[in-house]
Symmetry: C2
Subunit: 348 residues, 2 copies
């Protein structure tokens, strides 16, 4: 984003001055954070008997985000969501974050402060401590590397590997909205490229933009599952698209799956924009990605408790490995899922 | 490095195929690794009562390394050393690693396998488990983000903050060799740029190349300190150069320091190449960086035990904060240390 306000060059502050400025105000609040930023490493002490979970993700300008329409505050928020989502997918409580930046000299300090404001906002919202990181020069665009940590009692941890025969496949939220938000932003970018005072046409699609630019991690699911005493048999976060992530879960659990096209939750705005763009909303749901919702399995016997959560939809069930992963259309045809791309017969 | 052998495009394998290929053979060996790669997050359980330490670093092509002379196996080894060095600087045992890559399509799978071979070699050597990571497209060069974890009993942890009045300043190994190794490689790159079958002149400087291309983390210090029952009062790893890292330690410990120029250990090859290049080896030691040695403080009363380690040099001592950080030359002059650059009077 063009910064009209004050512009401070990174070189004016130096590496340490910059890190101090960016991480000021990130005081640790979790009991499990013994020492945060400012040393060679952070020191953590998860509650006695609990396991530590850790995951890392990287985000590259021009590949994962386009700064011409991605406000840096939102980007800061979103990278936290993406990192935290992996912790939630283990049914663990996110507690710490480390953020490394690769920054080209064209980015002013104020822009990085915006990014960190978004990171701070997300950390505050979810009770997460920023405990470390690194800011380096990059020859090219912005690179953001995020490591998230969390903890959970061993018996509450959920892997991708535990799905059993006939388990129900459940998902939170709805799918494809983030992808359609991205399509909308790309369209407006193209349309407005040569216009002096552009007024992008987003009216009616605000939800899609929010799902793409500022997705919220499903921390609410953790508490809800605990309240209902549900421990899913397997779980994965939906970052690559339902088809790819379901196949990953099935591969890890050595099983197949059947999901029903008409049970895949798709928001009205997703369908509306897809229709406007002559696209298939189901393709967006299956292959769009970046939903940061959770896909999990529960035994058939837990159907009632699961529905009581009020937060999930049952979209199908687990089958033997030999049968593979299929999408069942309303007319009863079976379409084999593919991780990349979508069967031609449904795409049209 | 140009790959003369078989060239497989990353696209042939896809993201998951690539990750599978690269991480095959990285079976966890640490008791503290409950679950390694292959899930949304790794699961760790440090020994009962111990703290977890975690640090993250990123390395950018064109800034931190130049692939025209940096063999990828060595680079893999070196990024592990750099990450592990931060864990050692806490007096903690390194145990797990997560590696995220940003890879441009110009890099073949075989090159990434070389990189991972170096990572695997370093992990094997130091008993570290690779437990996670991510491989993504990058629009530009290679980006390597490494998160290292380790653990230690609380009473053995060493921060930057604990240096006390009159404590001795100790360093492991010698300084400036990595920087002179880099200078040598840069010189040969320039000299040989237009020559068909280049034969770079490295004879007599092999040690400098090794210190730059394949520095070893000082895991030996951990055991030695434990054997002698020494817990340093403060410690930092030497990655930015002695001047900068000493000033960081002093800032954290709210103290000053005096170090003696003629006590700074500098290898013969470092001095020889510096003289050949009309450079000052002390400048290389103070500001060169990437030594991955350890700087630590011990109470004056522990001088004898510390010398028994046989692995360290005492280069000075801690002073009150108000006096600042000084380098004392053999003729007795005091030169105030600066984090960036070196006093003109000594540079000549």
């Amino acid at each position: 984003m063009a910064q009209q306000k004050k512009r401070t060059e990174i070189a004016e502050l130096g590496e340490f001055g910059l890190i101090d400025k960016l991480t000021a105000g990130f005081a640790p609040r979790n009991a499990s954070t013994v020492r945060g930023t400012g040393d060679d490493a952070a020191v953590l002490a998860p509650p006695a008997g609990e396991r530590t979970v850790v995951s890392t993700d990287a985000f590259f300008e021009g590949v994962d985000f386009d700064l011409t329409y991605f406000p840096l505050k939102h980007l800061g928020y979103k990278v936290v969501t993406a990192a935290v989502s992996d912790i939630l997918a283990m049914n663990a409580r996110p507690s710490q974050l480390l953020v490394s930046l690769g920054v080209s000299s064209k980015i002013p300090v104020e822009a990085l402060q915006d990014l960190y404001e978004g990171i701070a906002f997300a950390c505050n919202e979810h009770g997460i401590d920023l405990v470390g990181g690194d800011t380096r020069a990059s020859m090219t665009g912005l690179v953001i590397s995020v490591t998230a940590l969390g903890h959970a009692a061993e018996e509450r941890l959920v892997y991708r590997t535990g799905a059993g025969q006939n388990d129900l496949l459940c998902i939170t939220g709805n799918l494809g909205a983030a992808y359609m938000g991205l399509r909308l932003l790309e369209r407006e970018k193209r349309v407005l490229a040569d216009i002096a005072d552009p007024e992008p046409q987003f009216a009616g699609y605000e939800y899609l933009l929010e799902k793409y630019l500022k997705p919220r991690p499903r921390t609410d699911i953790l508490a809800a599952l605990a309240d209902e005493k549900i421990v899913p048999t397997a779980m994965i976060d939906l970052s690559d698209g339902l088809a790819s992530d379901l196949m990953q879960l099935c591969r890890a659990s050595k099983c197949g799956a059947r999901i029903y096209l008409d049970r895949i939750p798709i928001a009205k705005q997703t369908t509306a924009l897809a229709e406007e763009m002559h696209a298939d909303p189901v393709v967006a749901a299956l292959n769009g990605g970046e939903d940061y919702e959770l896909l999990f399995t529960v035994p058939l016997s837990m159907q009632e408790q699961t529905m009581r959560l009020g937060l999930v939809d049952v979209i199908g069930h687990i089958t033997p490995e030999s049968t593979g992963c299929f999408l069942v259309t309303p007319d009863g045809s079976d379409i084999r899922l593919k991780a990349q791309g979508f069967p031609e017969s449904v795409r049209e």
